[in-house]
């Protein structure tokens, strides 16, 4: 009875909020639309950032034209992809098609974008077709640096796939992992900051060790790191000590972890001291930069690898009406994570609606929570709130904090549940 009352109250409250929103949107938008045509918003990229923008902008889709451009019609998420590699989930569990019924006023185009024509405010496709925009949101993910590691070419199909985005061949990666013989040596190179999902190389190493053990194979995993420390380090060390003491070894940069040379044929890497490491499975996680569209369209400041934005509107510095969100941006204290992209995209969309409605921007508040697994039923996390600094020109952290290093089995299990729960909620909101 109480639950029914609560539900009814909530329904009435939600209805009033929606009606008030529509009334205000109508009033403000009609005022604007009398003097101008319907604004056209184009979103490039339908990952977590782009899909979140779409979810929020869809609320005003009766009053604006929304076009979404994405190169693939199936999206494979970065989050939980290490669980697929570790054979805990199947690839289909992390692949989604957008539910177009939810976005009936939105036009979807599944095409490759070549570049942005800034002067003519249009998106140019590979076939030289163009789509005009009044407001453009770029959420295209990342690309890779090809000039850091001598001998390594990101697009060489003979390499073990890096599997750092939805395009990489996760099935082939798993097959090569499954085919490894007993007592194999696995080398994983971890990139320097900044890169997508900072704890993921260590989660991947841990879940590979877990998978190999289930296959009754003994392996040695060497993580050669370009850094001297990493996020959630103490929690990982603890998990390795408990579960994978003999399998995983981490070598920081200061002790020779920085790899500068790769020989695919001889299956070896060389570090900056000239020391050679041979492996049966060499997994290079490449150094990263903003997606190529930012470089091809000259949207970055000179010498920059990441896109510089206004932290309130997410408008790209020097480029009016072009916005960027997600892993391609320099978000100051915020890490490149799905949770961050989701949180940033909400602000971008809310403040873009404010701009269209000719209302003031809201000063943002962001949240990030990043979960990592060490086994199917063991996970831990790091969380932080973020806001603007005093001069409102950068995003600062209010202090991040991690799970207890000595958390008990139940706490680890509960965090594993929460991690899956967060994921299920997010993909349900965005794609289903």
């Amino acid at each position: 009875m109480e639950k029914n009352r609560s539900g009814r109250r909530k329904f009435i409250s939600n209805t009033i909020t929606t009606l008030a929103f529509l009334f205000l949107a109508n009033t403000f938008l009609l005022k604007r639309l009398n003097s101008k045509t319907r604004p056209k918003i184009v979103i490039v990229g339908l990952g977590i950032g782009g899909a979140t923008c779409l979810q929020y902008l869809n609320k005003i889709s009766n009053f604006v034209d929304i076009i979404v451009i994405e190169k693939q019609n199936v999206y494979q998420t970065g989050p939980l992809s290490n669980l697929v590699i570790g054979n805990i989930l199947q690839r289909k569990d992390i692949c989604f098609k957008i539910n177009k019924k939810k976005y009936k006023n939105v036009k979807f185009i599944f095409e490759n974008v070549k570049r942005i024509d800034v002067e003519n405010k249009s998106v140019v496709f590979s076939k030289n077709l163009k789509v005009k925009f009044d407001f453009l949101i770029l959420s295209p993910g990342i690309s890779y640096k090809n000039d850091i590691l001598k001998g390594y070419n990101v697009s060489d199909k003979k390499n073990i796939p890096h599997c750092w985005d939805g395009e990489s061949n996760i099935t082939q990666f798993k097959k090569r992992l499954r085919d490894l013989e007993n007592n194999s040596k696995i080398i994983i190179t971890s990139p320097d900051y900044p890169y997508r999902c900072p704890p993921a190389p260590y989660e991947r190493a841990t879940l590979i060790a877990n998978y190999q053990r289930k296959l009754n194979k003994k392996v040695k995993i060497l993580i050669l790191d370009s850094k001297n420390s990493f996020t959630k380090q103490e929690n990982y060390f603890r998990e390795w000590q408990i579960n994978f003491r003999d399998e995983i070894e981490w070598i920081p940069r200061s002790k020779g972890g920085k790899v500068i040379f790769y020989d695919q044929k001889k299956n070896l890497v060389k570090n900056s001291d000239g020391q050679i490491f041979k492996g049966d499975f060499i997994h290079i996680i490449p150094e990263q930069k903003a997606a190529s569209i930012f470089f091809d369209s000259e949207l970055l400041n000179d010498g920059k690898d990441w896109c510089e934005i206004n932290p309130i509107s997410f408008e790209i510095n020097r480029f009016k009406d072009i916005y960027a969100v997600g892993d391609s941006i320099d978000a100051w204290a915020m890490p490149k994570s799905a949770f961050s992209a989701n949180s940033q995209a909400k602000i971008l969309a809310i403040n873009l609606i404010n701009k269209i409605l000719e209302k003031d921007y809201i000063d943002p508040v962001f949240l990030n929570t990043c979960y990592s697994f060490s086994k199917e039923d063991r996970a831990f996390s790091i969380s932080a709130w973020y806001r603007l600094n005093m001069t409102k020109d950068k995003i600062i952290s209010l202090g991040s904090s991690e799970s207890n290093v000595y958390a008990n089995d139940n706490d680890r299990k509960l965090e594993a549940q929460h991690a899956i729960g967060w994921y299920e909620t997010m993909v349900n909101d965005l794609f289903m």
Binding site: N342, I350, S381, W385, M390, L398, A407, G421, W422
Partner: protein, 95 residues
Amino acid sequence: MNKILLYFILFLSSNVFADQDKTINLIVENCKSCHNLNKQVTKKIPDMNNLEKEEFIRLMTKYKNDKDNSVMNRISRVFTDNDILKIADKIYGKK
């Protein structure tokens, strides 16, 4: 130097989220990343839809004070009691 000191004191003495209604709205938008506030989509995250407002305030205050480093403890520890009341107002309506 004095100016920097003044900023620092103001920074420490104010609520981290300045307690504005608009900020509270954004905090709630971030809650939605894990807790769907329209329907229950997963049983792996506590459902807030069937909670009473008072129960929500009690739980949030408990999370904040528990100091057990759980996810919710870490997320709620930056809130003042007034923040929690305003978040509850936003989610469950004012009585």
